[in-house]
């Protein structure tokens, strides 16, 4: 295609439904009261020329390298050796983030933080500290990132893992600040699986008209942040489709009957990929048909019905999902870059999108690349 043809065509809108921020060194001491400062995570040298988050004195520091790897060639991506000063500044500053979006040709991003960072607060025995940490993240995101351009920097409010009441209160506080949805790491009542005690939260989210998001997994127990960068933990996570947990979680949530009670609530599974979904839906339906007479929870519809009505999923490189978009539902899947994590192709996302969606009709492509996200987050 000639340069001229490119210029005269209207520019295709592109929204990443899953991108990340890297919490900056000043976040916790700026946004949390002084009395908590002795327990907040702090930035320390990673021992290899880079920087790392130290969560607690007895936990090995977690280097930031891999989370700030955008733009590096694959053989330059490393867990260690990267400082905050070397990372793209848009990792943690709104203004530069817009420039980085422009460099990549991205119109807007939905922003997630670090679940491992949050589990530092979740695992603390003091509920006041726990809540203060969650609120600090949300306040920082609202004041330093979203405020720069709320249409392009779409914030989701991180939920505490304390109780349904605490989660509802934080959701409502954040929605008033301009957040466009909520990011849950645990079930709101902090059970090991979805249960009726969670219902008031789903009710409140549905009434507020916002979607609930799970990123990669639902934490079934709260654990202290573990060091990363050691074999065993990583390879599975990096190489075997982050989906593994969410596959089980989604089936379990659908089977719980929650969608009959809250038919208008939308659930988004993030960074779990999408290509596996048609297989799972067929299996869920087949097994539901065979077993529904004895199952204790009576569903009003077959499981795949609820997926189509209530679920969305994000995907990065997933050619199989794009090929199978009609089985997945063109309106159920949302493209994402994962910027600035190691799954992204910044600043070459446009080229990736061109390859990924080759042969897909323009109207379908527009939905997956932007329209579905624009509708979900009410972006202009």
């Amino acid at each position: 295609m000639s340069g001229r043809a490119t210029r005269t065509e209207p520019r295709e809108r592109l929204i990443s439904a899953d991108s990340h921020v890297l919490e900056p060194p000043h976040l916790w001491t700026t946004y949390m009261e002084r009395k908590f400062h002795d327990k907040v995570p702090r930035v320390v040298p990673d021992g290899e020329g880079g920087e790392a988050w130290q969560f607690a004195p007895d936990v090995p520091p977690a280097p930031i390298g891999i989370y700030a790897s955008a733009g590096r060639s694959h053989d330059q991506i490393c867990w260690t050796g990267v400082t905050f000063a070397q990372a793209n500044p848009g990792n943690f500053r709104g203004g530069p983030r817009l420039e980085e979006q422009d460099a990549d040709g991205i119109d807007a991003e939905v922003l997630f933080g670090s679940a491992r960072m949050m589990s530092h607060f979740y695992s603390d025995p003091d509920p006041e500290f726990h809540l203060a940490g969650v609120r600090a993240y949300n306040d920082w995101l609202a004041q330093e990132i979203m405020s720069v351009d709320p249409q392009r920097l779409v914030g989701l409010a991180c939920m505490p893992a304390l109780s349904v009441e605490a989660a509802i209160a934080e959701m409502e506080r954040c929605l008033a600040l301009g957040f466009r949805g909520v990011w849950l790491n645990t079930m709101p009542s902090v059970g090991s699986a979805i249960r009726p005690e969670d219902d008031p939260f789903w009710d409140a989210a549905q009434s507020n008209g916002v979607a609930v998001h799970f990123h990669v997994r639902v934490m079934r127990t709260i654990q202290k942040p573990r060091p990363k960068g050691v074999r065993g933990d990583d390879l599975i996570g990096l190489a075997s489709v982050g989906a593994a947990n969410m596959i089980i979680d989604m089936g379990e949530i659908i089977q719980s009957g929650v969608h009959d009670r809250f038919p208008d609530l939308t659930w988004v599974m993030v960074e779990a990929g999408s290509g596996w979904i048609p297989y799972l839906l067929e299996q869920l339906d087949d097994r539901w048909h065979r077993n529904r007479s004895w199952l204790p929870v009576k569903l009003e519809h077959e499981p795949s019905f609820y997926y189509r009505r209530n679920w969305r999923s994000t995907f990065m490189i997933d050619r199989y999902a794009v090929e199978n978009r009609h089985r997945l539902g063109v309106e159920n899947i949302l493209f994402a870059t994962d910027y600035p994590h190691h799954g992204c192709d910044w600043p070459h996302t446009r080229r990736v999108v061109a390859e990924l969606f080759e042969g897909v009709p323009a109207d379908e492509r527009a939905k997956m690349c932007a329209g579905n996200a624009a509708a979900l987050y009410r972006l202009g």
């Binding site: 065993g232 009957g257 299996q283 190691h342």
Partner: protein, 376 residues
């Protein structure tokens, strides 16, 4: 391909099951270990249930003994040996008759996992071994004896250390078993490690295929699940198999033992093209910093070293060329609650309506026959 048994094969179930006969342990387990064996008790609803060692609630049998059971009759409880439980569940001669009614020529037979685990969780390794050996003896000399060309018993590997795992595998080969199943990594670790290599080496050397039935139940932590979600968990259990496959590939097991053949059983196949695409993409991105040193692209190891089995999987059949026509095998799961007896042929006709005959033949018969040595 030629039959190695003198029998013709047209339909083979690559994943079926045995159920313990009520007198299995009394007859086949050494007397001194009888107190460690599962006990048959009432399920409290008119049926039988096995009380496994260490358990407080007995496990009923309704959903693992479904022979022509209609969906609305499915219940966990109420199934009773000698009355409602069809003898084909635990008696080989009876199984052959019922296979004839269904049109199934041969079945690969997997052990009742709850019973195996009761022994495998026993801290007393002698009792552990005795229980597993009793099952394997009954499988071969009891259940499968009426026609070993049709009843193909998959040997249960014990979990008491790498030396025993290797010796048992070699013994299984010598005694004529056509496949082994593992319920833990062969050296008993929480994760795959180099200490497991002697087992892979032995399996490759004697050409014994190794099956993983969904997960490594003796070591893999099962996700907490409510009863209500049991069906969903069954549908999504392949999520527990995926990391096992990638671990073996990324740790270079197939580079060291290229002839090793693995089966992922009851996992379904429709998810595999997505899985392979993701695994390859992440391999290319992360191989440097993750220190992955393998000779081929991950998906190539799946194609060269793995077979996966499915029950009803229209999606998987429609994407069979992306799964690999030779990497998938149909199964009934008989007599578990996913089976369509006595209508398996009808199920196959529906599933394969648009599939060329040569491809269908591989998936419903010859892939499994070749994999477990019934044809060559």
């Amino acid at each position: 391909m030629q039959s190695t048994t003198g029998r013709d094969y047209r339909i083979i179930s690559a994943d079926s099951h045995t159920v313990e006969p009520p007198d299995l342990w009394d007859k086949w387990l050494e007397k001194k270990y009888l107190d460690t064996a599962p006990k048959l008790v009432s399920d409290g609803a008119g049926g039988d249930a096995w009380l496994y060692m260490g358990a407080t609630t007995p496990e009923p049998l309704g959903l693992v003994t479904c022979v022509g059971t209609r969906p609305e009759q499915l219940r966990w409880t109420g199934a009773k040996y000698g009355e409602t439980i069809h003898p084909s569940c635990y008696d080989g001669a009876e199984r052959l008759k019922i296979m004839d009614e269904d049109g199934v020529d041969a079945e690969m037979l997997y052990p009742p996992q709850r019973a195996m685990l009761t022994f495998m969780k026993n801290k007393d390794t002698d009792a552990h071994l005795a229980g597993i050996r009793a099952y394997n003896r009954w499988l071969k000399d009891g259940f499968c004896a009426p026609d070993p060309a049709r009843l193909v018993g998959i040997f249960q590997t014990p979990n008491v250390g790498i030396e025993t795992s290797v010796k048992e595998l070699q013994r299984a080969k010598k005694e004529g078993y056509r496949g082994v199943a593992i319920s833990a990594w062969p050296s008993g670790g929480d994760q795959l490690r180099p200490e497991d290599d002697p087992f892979w080496e032995a399996a490759a050397e004697v050409d014994m295929p190794v099956s993983i039935h969904l997960l490594l139940a003796a070591s893999q932590t099962k996700t907490v699940a409510s009863k209500a979600a049991a069906v969903a968990i069954g549908a999504s259990a392949f999520a527990l198999t995926m990391p096992l496959i990638t671990e073996m590939i990324f740790q270079g097991v197939f580079d060291r033992f290229p002839k090793l053949r693995m089966a992922a059983v009851e996992t379904g196949v429709g998810w595999i093209p997505h899985f392979l695409e993701m695994t390859d993409d992440r391999y290319w991105r992360n191989r440097h910093h993750a220190g992955v040193k393998i000779k081929k692209v991950p998906s190539e190891y799946f194609r060269d070293n793995w077979l996966a089995t499915f029950i009803v999987d229209r999606n998987g059949i429609s994407v069979r060329h992306q799964v690999g026509i030779e990497n998938m095998s149909w199964s009934t799961d008989f007599p578990h609650h996913g089976n369509d007896w006595p209508y398996s042929r009808k199920t196959i006709d529906e599933l394969f309506a648009d599939v060329p005959a040569a491809e269908r033949e591989k998936i419903v018969c010859t892939n499994a026959a070749r994999f477990w040595g019934l044809m060559q």
